[in-house]
């Protein structure tokens, strides 16, 4: 689905379903240099189980126009603008990595618009290594290689995908390679500079689910502890032997956790 948000055309995958204003809505927010397709399985499930699904392409990503947004707060604002554009009063927000920070920030500043949040691969703060930032700033392919190397558990680096016939690291690499110049750097810089995460977490009033990969090397599980402590109404699910690419590495565990959490709302 294409729609206008703040003067630019935005795209959101809806699971091949038309928007139904009588249904509640779940918005899925991807991470750095990714797009809506990282949520294909999970978002499609909810679209076919009584929810409106908006797996968005953030500005400057995938099929959405505009420039990539330079801060977590501006991404959070854009998410609310997107809900406004579609006349959606409240939604559950599900975010991965950078997307998890945007979802957290949106829930803290727009509590009346967000009824649940699910944070996948979160950490607060979310520091990015100098080497990765430098490579991303140069649009050096090495940045993608670093992310791929750190984003899958050691076992999943060699495959064994639950999705038949898809080579996970190859697919992840190709998706990043399709991102626009400077998109990765802008995204990583937004992660790196987001300093308000714990303060935001303390203001969140809606229920929160945290999904953490036990073998995550991009956002280390220990870096989520302060976030967990700061949230009031939270549930933490750690997926064994899983890295940072949770939706690809553990699609069923992610879906099961999301189902339990998101369906509990109604």
């Amino acid at each position: 689905m294409r729609f206008e948000v703040t003067g630019h055309t935005a795209y959101a995958y809806t699971g091949s379903r038309a928007f139904d204003s009588s249904q509640s809505t779940i918005a899925f927010v991807h991470g750095a240099a990714n797009d809506h397709s990282v949520w294909a399985l999970q978002s499609r499930y909810f679209a076919h189980h009584g929810r409106n699904v908006l797996a968005v392409d953030l500005p400057g990503h995938g099929k959405s126009e505009g420039a990539p947004l330079s801060s977590v707060a501006s991404i959070a604002d854009w998410l609310i603008d997107a809900l406004d554009a579609l006349r959606i009063e409240t939604a559950a927000l599900v975010g991965h990595s950078l997307g998890s920070l945007a979802v957290l920030d949106a829930a803290s500043r727009y509590p009346q618009r967000v009824d649940r949040i699910a944070l996948l691969g979160p950490s607060v703060p979310m520091p990015v290594s100098e080497a990765l930032l430098d490579a991303a700033k140069r649009d050096d392919h090495a940045a993608f290689e670093m992310i791929n190397g750190w984003s899958f558990s050691p076992a999943d680096q060699l495959g064994g995908n639950r999705q038949p016939g898809v080579w996970m690291t190859g697919n992840s690499m190709r998706l990043m390679e399709r991102s626009r110049p400077a998109a990765l750097y802008t995204d990583l810089a937004a992660c790196n500079s987001y300093a308000d995460g714990l303060n935001a977490a303390g203001k969140v009033r809606c229920p929160a689910l945290l999904l953490i990969g036990q073998r995550d090397q991009m956002t280390l599980p220990k870096n989520a502890r302060a976030l967990v402590a700061a949230l009031t109404d939270k549930r933490v699910v750690t997926i064994p032997d899983c890295g940072h690419s949770l939706m690809a590495e553990a699609p069923d565990q992610v879906l099961d956790a999301l189902r339990e959490f998101l369906f509990a709302a109604h």
Binding site: S16, S37, G149, L158, V166
Partner: protein, 435 residues
């Protein structure tokens, strides 16, 4: 943090896609000889059918043993995924029918495996898909053949049987200028000698029957997607590939290019092509291809070493008129081969004797180690006379254009000791010369 190291090709040939069986601990990939897989409950069943969960339903669509092979070839080629099918021919057919329907057009190299030529020249026109064949070395010929309804450019990394080296970077670049993908048959080179995606190709397929399985025991095919081609690029590919960019009534209005940014082609190929045409690979076959791939780098190295020795022997033999191997200075593609195939030009090549058709027959029938049969890429050395076998349906003029004469003999050099192969050839050449 230091930059993570990527896994080497040789390691991927052994491990990519596989892990010890979680149920039994079996280290080798099990042969999941089962048509179907039990659902946890009704919701799980519906979710699997509707692509909301990952997993296997029915072995025509996917199978755990085949899935390991699909990941492995994807890893070796540098692609996003693959589909294992019943044969190389099935892979070519699946690629074409996933991309186009009646009224479409293909531009293909004229130096193709006879089976591929049959499909394109005789069979597909009956279904409304036409092909223009071009000299693979003539880039202007490729360009002139492209029409508004062209949907695919297609060639072999090494032409059959003349071993024309496909200039993948230039043909891919031309294809992309016109918003078209390049499909490459990489059977003769395998990812051990060339990875076409690194040179710009968009889709690759293999007859896994040949070097990948490597022992002449199975028929199979593999179709690999690079994930690089944009099926909906404005002013380029947009509008040309409705099978991928428009809602598909056969799967709840799914738009494959929206469902997957990188693997839309594979999704359609699996959800329609394998589902409806049904040319799937058997899990036992997948197991045997996996066994072959485990030794692919070692075998290809030996294949090439032996081939270089046999080529050198034949090139200096008085009864041999010509040898067509791209590493020879007499081959028109020597420079291109040095660039694209630095580790060798495979183990299949043709040569011509200075003799009559009858002397050619005598030569083949005098061989003791080389087996006279219609295959290539076996661990055992093979020989055939293309004009009377693999290319017998091809008109004489087209044969000539493809570099095949009545005296052309094709060898597939195996893994025997090179001295024994040379001795066998020497004896047979002597017998033919005296006859």
């Amino acid at each position: 943090m230091t930059k993570p190291k990527s896994t080497h090709f040789d390691t991927l040939t052994l491990h990519a896609g596989a892990r010890p069986d979680p149920a039994t601990g079996a280290r080798a990939t099990p042969i999941y000889q089962s048509t179907s897989f039990v659902f946890r409950d009704s919701d799980h069943a519906a979710a699997l059918f509707n692509m909301e969960r990952a997993g296997h339903v029915y072995s025509r669509i996917s199978n755990p043993t085949c899935a390991v092979l699909e990941e492995r070839i994807s890893a070796l080629e540098g692609g996003v995924g693959a589909i294992a099918v019943a044969s190389g021919q099935a892979a070519l057919h699946l690629a074409i029918v996933t991309l186009m329907g009646a009224g479409s057009h293909i531009v293909a190299s004229r130096s193709l495996y006879g089976g591929s030529h049959n499909l394109l020249d005789f069979t597909l026109p009956r279904f409304g898909i036409e092909t223009t064949f071009v000299d693979p070395r003539n880039l202007d010929g490729w360009r002139r053949a492209i029409r508004p309804n062209t949907r695919l450019l297609f060639g072999e990394t090494l032409g059959n049987p003349g071993l024309e080296v496909l200039d993948v970077p230039r043909v891919a670049s031309l294809a992309h200028e016109h918003g078209l993908p390049l499909l490459v048959d990489s059977t003769f080179t395998t990812p051990s000698l060339m990875r076409p995606f690194e040179h710009g190709a968009d889709l690759v397929y293999h007859s896994a029957t040949k070097f990948l399985s490597g022992h002449g025991v199975v028929i199979g095919g593999l179709l690999v997607d690079s994930g690089k081609f944009d099926w909906n690029e404005p002013n380029k590919s947009a509008g040309k590939f409705p099978t991928l960019t428009e809602p598909y009534a056969g799967f709840h209005g799914m738009v494959f290019a929206e469902e997957s940014t990188t693997a839309a082609f594979l999704l359609r190929a699996r959800r329609e092509g394998i589902r409806d045409f049904g040319a799937c690979m058997a899990p036992m076959t997948a197991f045997q291809v996996l066994q072959g791939i485990e030794t692919l780098p070692l075998r290809m190295q030996r294949h090439v070493e032996n081939t270089r020795k046999v080529v050198a022997f034949l090139a200096s033999h008085r009864f041999v008129e010509s040898v067509g191997y791209p590493e020879l200075p007499t081959h028109p593609d020597q420079a291109l081969a040095a660039r694209l195939l630095p580790d060798g030009c495979g183990a299949v090549f043709s040569f011509a004797i200075r003799g009559t058709r009858e002397q050619g027959r005598r030569f083949i029938e005098s061989l003791r180690i080389f087996s006279h049969l219609a295959n290539v890429g076996d661990a055992k050395s093979l020989v055939i006379h293309p004009a009377s076998t693999t290319h017998f349906r091809v008109a004489t003029e087209d044969l000539k254009a493809a570099g095949i004469t009545e005296g052309t003999i094709r060898l597939s050099v195996g893994l025997e000791h090179a001295d024994d192969l040379i001795e066998d050839l020497s004896r047979a050449l002597h017998a033919a010369e005296r006859s």
